[in-house]
């Protein structure tokens, strides 16, 4: 119960941060990727602002065996940069540039993103459901 409560709190904070930062507005995301046009640097500040508390959190985590609720602190997967990372991230980035939405903002904005936002989310879920068979079909490493 406590675990679900804190998960909901983390999700809510994440959503608030996405709204406050402007990352649920696709024009700001596409503006960041548009380095040959009217470039919008906001996303760099969002990343910087987010990496700061997380750097401290990883340092605290490194001195602990377990999280507060008893789960082991997730370790590094110890894997190198494989084809899944390269091909997957290129595909993801391309889709990100087309619509200006990535998974977090797509969920955060679903209540006010209109028909386009809902269609994006459904297509994204369909892609996620299809991925295990795509992995198998092309012999890509299963690192999930």
């Amino acid at each position: 119960m406590l675990r679900n409560l804190f998960a909901a709190l983390a999700g809510a904070l994440f959503g608030l941060g996405l709204v406050v930062s402007g990352m649920t507005d696709t024009t700001k995301v596409i503006g960041w990727l548009d380095i040959f046009g009217d470039w919008d640097p906001t996303l760099a500040f969002v990343m910087g602002g987010a990496i700061l508390p997380m750097t401290i959190a990883w340092r605290i985590a490194a001195r602990r065996q377990q999280a507060v609720l008893g789960t082991p602190i997730p370790g590094s997967l110890g894997l190198g940069v494989d084809r899944g990372i390269a091909i997957g991230s290129l595909l993801f980035g391309f889709g990100w540039g087309l619509a200006g939405l990535c998974p977090g903002p797509a969920m955060a904005s679903v209540s006010f993103g209109g028909r386009g936002g809902i269609v994006f989310l459904l297509a994204m879920i369909a892609g996620m459901v299809a991925t295990p068979s795509i992995r198998a079909r092309f012999g890509l490493p299963a690192t999930a």
Binding site: F6, A7, A10, G11, F14, G15, L16, G17, L18, V19, V20, M23, T24, T26, I30, I35, F36, P41, T42, F45, V46, A50, M54, A57, W58, L69, T71, I73, P74, S76, L77, V81, G84, I85, I87, S89, L90, L91, F92, G93, G95, W96, G97, L98, A99, L101, P103, S111, F112, G113, G116, G117, F120, L122, I125, A126, G127, M128, V129, T131
Partner: protein, 141 residues
């Protein structure tokens, strides 16, 4: 807006705080694509309740906060074909890569993960190419 960068920094700090909370309290890496992906493809069945709770919070607070902050306009392209293609690519790509902007970007870079850094470079490259081609070559977005 002149203060866009300041809103970005403040919002980013809230996002990082959320990720820190999820790591230190729940012992989980806050990756949006992993949390949703594990739920819909069945691989995260044993942690389904925690995933659902996270997503419920992620949807609910913006539903209230975005109108209050006058940030409830997403400007998603009216082309549904483009939206479907983009959604499929984001879904498949993030699951093949095991992460997206939050997991590889925020959580990976902050622990100096080589995979996180590499993924971030590749998705920035993919996104830059998409906008270059769609906006400046084809004029479609």
């Amino acid at each position: 807006m002149q203060a866009d960068w300041l809103w970005g920094l403040a919002g980013g700090f809230i996002i990082g705080t959320a990720a820190a909370l999820y790591l230190l309290v729940n012992g989980r890496v806050m990756g949006a694509s992993g949390i949703l992906g594990g739920l819909v493809d069945g691989s995260g069945r044993t942690t389904a309740a925690e995933r659902l709770a996270f997503i419920a919070g992620l949807v609910a607070l913006p539903a209230v906060a975005a109108p209050l902050l006058a940030r409830d306009e997403t400007h998603v392209t009216p082309s549904l074909a483009l939206v479907v293609i983009a959604g499929l690519l984001v879904g498949i790509g993030t699951r093949l890569a095991n992460g997206c902007t939050s997991g590889h970007g925020v959580c990976g870079i902050s622990r100096l993960s080589r995979r996180g850094l590499a993924a971030t470079l590749f998705y920035l490259l993919g996104g830059g190419i998409a906008v270059l081609v769609l906006r400046h070559v084809l004029g479609a977005i």
